[in-house]
């Protein structure tokens, strides 16, 4: 029997909702089947904690006396984008420190702000009649900053590649250090716990969905950049490589650095580990079946990252149960595997969100608009003005 969002929310507010994590749901669907699971369970919570470069935070510092129209801004020597109104900036996660290089960047500034640390603000300006100040140097923290909210253009990727390296030298990538001659393979998904792999055709996750973001409540703001729904899929609906993605928004001042961390990938750059958990309402048997997905059912593609091309040919396919076993076979070779996304923290996120919902602290929202289920990703080609 089908349930509505309203019915589920009523059960949540009465403290009667049955909430399982995606791992627990996988077990239940395996033992009792999707039909019984749908009758019993109201919400399944998911979680993921992986590095996402396309992340950042909008900050409004408040106005100085006399006022300044900031044109160049640094936070702890990390340049941030100030090409907005006078005291609005966007801290890009991958921006690197002028003094420390990739050891410290925008992602680390975001982490420091969340942790309540003091951050040095430096700005220069050209000065106008209404904003006369041309230079400012001061200290800020999350309590003195007027507003700060995370806005991540692309997070929560629905599946991701498995990366390896066929060349004869070590390569340094956003997929970690890849050793020569297929010396290792890395992967980066929470698999059966991952939000969009538990709602593979976006029936419940859409614009306006309330989520767990970095330890606080946040929202799905839009489809993510490079959102690519039209891809080949496994029988259960999960894509066989990177597919959908989400743009996320949430109040930085409420966040907790256990669930959001600055990172640096050696000889690659800075990135941000972002903790995301999305509740999935079990509206009917179909949603129970989707959330019953197991690592063995989720397949991804293996790519050779020594190919310096935007379209690499997949070397093969592999499921997450095999990836998690510690080694896979590529051709005849046994290749050790390593994750980049923390399964331990992903699990903690799913459990935290489960506790919030069980304790009636978090209600579900019906999407205002579904994510696009059509469309493709356009490449960037070098062309003339007339050739467009």
């Amino acid at each position: 029997m089908a349930k509505t969002y309203q019915e589920i929310n009523q059960r949540i507010s009465r403290g009667e909702a049955v909430v399982l994590t995606a791992e627990e749901m996988t077990e239940l669907v395996k033992s009792d089947g999707a039909k019984k699971a749908a009758a019993r369970v109201d919400v399944v919570t998911t979680g993921t904690f992986g590095p996402m470069c396309s992340s950042g935070a909008f900050v409004n510092f408040g106005h100085s006396e006399p006022p300044i129209k900031m044109s160049k801004v640094w936070l702890n020597d990390v340049p941030v984008c100030a090409d907005l109104a006078a005291v609005d900036v966007y801290i890009g996660a991958t921006a690197m420190s002028d003094t420390e290089g990739m050891a410290y960047g925008g992602a680390h500034v975001i982490q420091d702000l969340i942790e309540g640390k003091r951050v040095k603000l430096r700005s220069t300006a050209y000065g106008t009649d209404c904003y006369p100040l041309r230079e400012i140097e001061t200290w800020v923290d999350k309590d003195t900053i007027n507003q700060a909210y995370l806005f991540n253009p692309r997070n929560s990727y629905q599946n991701y590649a498995c990366a390896t390296n066929s060349s004869d030298r070590t390569i340094y990538t956003y997929m970690g250090v890849l050793l020569p001659n297929f010396g290792n393979a890395t992967y980066c998904s929470a698999g059966q716990l991952s939000p969009l792999l538990n709602d593979p055709l976006y029936r419940t996750i859409g614009l306006g969905t309330r989520i767990f973001l970095g330890g606080a409540a946040g929202y799905v703001a839009w489809e993510g950049t490079q959102h690519k729904p039209t891809v080949e899929r496994s029988p259960g609906g999960t894509p066989v490589g990177p597919a959908a993605s989400l743009a996320l928004i949430g109040d930085l001042k409420q966040m907790d650095s256990r669930f959001i961390r600055g990172a640096r990938f050696h000889r690659y750059g800075v990135s941000l580990y972002v903790g995301v958990g999305i509740p999935i309402p079990i509206l009917d048997e179909e949603m129970a079946a989707y959330t019953g997905v197991a690592d063995a059912d989720i397949v991804t593609s293996i790519f050779d990252y020594s190919q310096q091309s935007r379209s690499r040919d997949p070397l093969g396919r592999i499921d997450y149960e095999r990836l998690r076993s510690g080694s896979i076979k590529i051709g005849e070779k046994k290749v050790p595997t390593a994750p980049l996304s923390s399964y331990k923290v992903a699990r903690r996120i799913a459990q935290t969100l489960k506790a919030w919902i069980t304790e009636s602290k978090f209600a579900l929202t019906e999407p205002l608009q579904p994510l696009p289920s059509e469309g493709t990703v356009l490449p960037l080609d070098v062309r003339t003005e007339e050739g467009i």
């Binding site: 904690f49 992986g50 590095p51 050891a103 004869d168 070590t170 970690g176 250090v177 890849l178 050793l179 020569p180 001659n181 010396g183 290792n184 890395t186 961390r261 600055g262 990172a263 640096r264 990938f265 050696h266 000889r267 990135s271 580990y273 998690r324 510690g326 050790p336 390593a338 994750p339 980049l340 996304s341 923390s342 399964y343 331990k344 923290v345 699990r347």
Partner: protein
């Protein structure tokens, strides 16, 4: 007599050559292999202690470098900040002796110091910069 502890890294094409035995034979350096992780066709790493006359050790090390082996001063210990570690597993990708592991059921990063060959590769591989070496 001098002693020196070194980490030797063998690129895949060097792994199959008898570079260490040549050093023992030609340069009269006592070579004690403390730990090793070497497989045909893969990158290999070895922690060695060299013993002999200072200039012979120097010549032996020069020989290793000419043969394509990367030679680095061995560290004495690695330190992982377990409290801040998120157990992502990125460091395990470069840990050939599998001293660093994340696995079921708890998926928490574990460091088995008995298996560690003190190569220090995990230091660069940790995205949170939580692994430090001691010399």
């Amino acid at each position: 007599m001098a002693k020196k502890r070194l980490v030797l890294t063998f690129p895949p094409e060097v792994v199959e050559r008898p570079v260490v035995s040549l050093m023992v034979k030609e340069y009269d350096v006592i070579t004690n292999i403390l730990r090793a992780e070497i497989h045909e066709g893969e990158i290999g790493r070895m922690l060695v202690e060299l013993e002999g006359e200072g200039k012979k050790i120097k010549a032996g090390v020069e020989h290793l470098k000419v043969m394509g082996v990367q030679v680095e001063e061995a560290i004495t210990d690695i330190e992982l900040d377990e409290e801040l570690c998120i157990s992502c597993g990125a460091c395990t990708a470069v840990c050939l002796p599998r001293a660093l592991k994340v696995q079921a059921p708890d998926w928490e990063l574990g460091l088995d110091k008995d298996r560690c060959i003190l190569c220090g590769f995990c230091v660069d591989a940790c995205p949170l910069q939580l692994i430090k070496v001691k010399f």
